[in-house]
């Protein structure tokens, strides 16, 4: 476990940023940001080939946050990775800030694709994966993070077909399977299960993992990279609101900011790492 102490401490910092940002903005999406912390931590601090001095370096690995409302975890990861100062995080969602409510590739260093209208990120990721193939960049990886509720958007399945049809084995899609969406449980609002079977039926390589376990995330990406000829789905079981006792598994914390007292309590809980 000690092997991942560094990643664990980064993850704790990202969680504290998420709470501080959303509390300062008095708006934003903490639940689905907290559920994706380990996935983004692993990508940005262990797996992705990046150069923070050249955010658009043409050999870099790419990440598309298709569930764009999880911008707090994305911005926190980019800031901690060095694309911009962590101090800027508190300008999130405020007037004249670069840190828009949803990611804007035009203005935020390190953001590879503008997202926010759900269902569009995998299509864009496919386009970038096709471009990498055209350019002969076989060792360039395109990661995308989808929400499980987001899978209700029809365009996702158009793009799922496209990735398989064009054999985009350089495309690796995580599903943040936290089971909750704004109106409640995904299974109650509009069931998207069974996920594993769906992706498999669409000719994807599929793995199911614990999305809070660094070892499993790393191993799954290694396995995905070795799966030639097919895109890979990593269905990551997660806990919405992970790490903050009163937010865990509560759909109500999808898009609500904590008050000052709640934020203090959450930050205290997140100090123990």
């Amino acid at each position: 476990m000690e092997e991942y102490a560094n990643l664990r401490s980064i993850a704790a910092r990202l969680r504290r940023h998420i709470i501080s940002m959303v509390a300062a903005a008095n708006s934003g999406h903490p639940g689905g940001s907290l559920s994706a912390v380990e996935i983004l931590t692993t990508l940005y601090f262990k797996l992705m080939k990046l150069d923070v001095s050249q955010p658009r370096w043409n050999q870099r690995d790419i990440f598309v946050l298709s569930k764009g409302h999880a911008s707090p975890v994305y911005y926190a990861a980019l800031a901690e990775r060095g694309f911009f100062s962590p101090e800027e995080l508190l300008s999130f969602r405020k007037i004249n800030s670069r840190l828009q409510g949803h990611p804007d590739r035009e203005n935020i260093p390190g953001v590879d694709m503008t997202t926010g209208s759900l269902g569009q990120g995998l299509s864009a990721a496919n386009g970038m994966a096709l471009a990498a193939k055209l350019d002969g960049q076989e060792q360039r990886w395109v990661y995308v993070l989808l929400g499980d509720g987001e899978l209700q958007e029809g365009q996702v399945w158009e793009a799922v077909m496209t990735a398989a049809h064009y054999h985009l084995d350089n495309c690796i899609a995580f599903v943040d399977w936290n089971g909750l969406q704004i109106d409640g449980e995904v299974s109650q609002v509009m069931n998207t299960s069974p996920l594993k079977e769906k992706f498999a039926a669409f000719n994807w390589h599929v793995q199911e993992i614990d999305g809070h376990d660094f070892a499993q995330i790393i191993a799954a990406v290694e396995t995905a990279k070795a799966a030639k000829g097919r895109p890979s789905a990593i269905i990551a079981r997660t806990i919405k609101g992970k790490g903050v006792s009163f937010m865990e598994n509560q759909a109500g914390w999808h898009g609500r900011a904590p008050g000052q007292e709640q934020a203090q309590q959450a930050l205290k809980e997140l100090e123990v790492e």
Binding site: N58, I62, D104, R105, E106, D112, M113, T114, T115, G116, S117, G119, Q120, L122, S123, A124, A125, N126, G127, M128, A129, L130, A131, A132, L134, D135, G154, Q155, E158, A159, M161, T162, H165, Y166
Partner: protein, 309 residues
């Protein structure tokens, strides 16, 4: 006079572009025979992507290719591009200013027999309302070819509106196309006819008829609706004092609206709009539809006579 469909000229120019520029890629949604992207597909199969009947994914994939530095041309019928994939164009192309060229064919009533579901008369309005979008409506084959090459050189999102039927070649092969300048095809002092797309050759016909009736009509080919060549619009509105806008599109939100907005703020001018009058089309031959919905040279002549009274 030779006739060419703007979609045919687009397909030809696209194949030329493919040979000139490795970065050009083409996407289609199961209509490559009709949109004329098939010629590019045949010559450059590695750089052609058929997305199947999935227009949202067509636009989203094009956005990703542009984000990675490619110059994607995404083609389907206008109704499925501007209509069905509007939010994809808005959120994944226009907002991030990605270098995607949406080349939409079968715009307007002249689709003909397919009827109202396929006759897109609202696309200029939809695309013009999007920040960062350039909207181009070529009048004939030579202009469509030149516009295809020009938008490939232009950095940023473009909506290129193309038609199904063959139209008379107004411009010669030596036509020097300027994306941001509306060419004056005929000088005149009594009434200025601003037209785009299919209506341009009809505007020229109307001007010739008007001359016989003693009315001097200028004809301006407003091929780029956005950004609008305001200077030329204002100059001819001032010179003539009477204005007609003619487009194969709804009178709501298209060329006529764009001109009325400029004139309303800067040079209030008596004006008549020729276009589809806030209604859906129907099945029929293109000529029958244009007659029934009032998109004819005769309608332009009548509008000019009314303005002269």
């Amino acid at each position: 006079m030779a006739k060419t469909a703007t979609r045919d000229a687009y397909g030809k120019a696209l194949a030329q572009l493919g040979a000139e520029n490795e970065q050009v890629v083409v996407l289609d949604a199961d209509l490559s025979g009709s949109t004329k992207t098939a010629a590019f597909a045949k010559e450059f199969p590695r750089r052609f992507f058929n997305l199947g009947i999935a227009e949202a994914d067509l636009i989203g994939t094009a956005a990703g290719l542009a984000a990675a530095g490619k110059i994607p041309f995404a083609s389907t019928f206008a109704v499925f591009a501007a209509g069905r994939a509007y939010d994809q164009i808005r959120a994944s192309v226009a907002y991030p200013k990605l270098n995607v060229k949406i080349a939409a064919t079968h715009a307007g009533l002249t689709v003909g027999e397919d009827g109202a579901t396929h006759q897109m008369n609202e696309d200029i309005a939809l695309m013009r309302a999007l920040p960062n979008m350039t909207v181009v409506v070529p009048a004939d084959g030579p202009e469509a070819g030149a516009a295809t090459l020009a938008v490939a050189r232009h950095q940023g999102p473009v909506y290129l509106r193309l038609g199904r039927p063959a139209v008379p070649d107004i411009h010669g092969e030596d036509y020097a196309f300027d994306l941001f300048k509306a060419p004056v095809l005929r000088e005149g002092g009594d009434v200025a006819i601003f037209a785009c797309g299919y209506m341009v050759h009809l505007a020229l016909e109307a001007a010739a008829q008007l001359e016989k009736q003693g009315i001097s009509a200028a004809v301006v080919n407003v091929h780029t609706i956005k950004p609008l060549d305001k200077e030329t619009v204002l100059r001819y509105a001032r010179r003539c004092g009477r204005v007609i806008a003619a487009e194969e599109h709804s009178i709501i939100g298209g060329l006529g609206s764009a001109i009325a907005e400029v004139l309303g703020e800067e040079q209030p001018t008596h004006m008549v709009r020729i276009g589809v009058r806030d209604t859906f089309g129907e099945s029929g031959k293109p000529a029958e539809l244009l007659e029934k919905y009032g998109l004819t040279a005769e309608a332009i002549v009548q509008a000019a006579r009314k303005l002269m009274q």
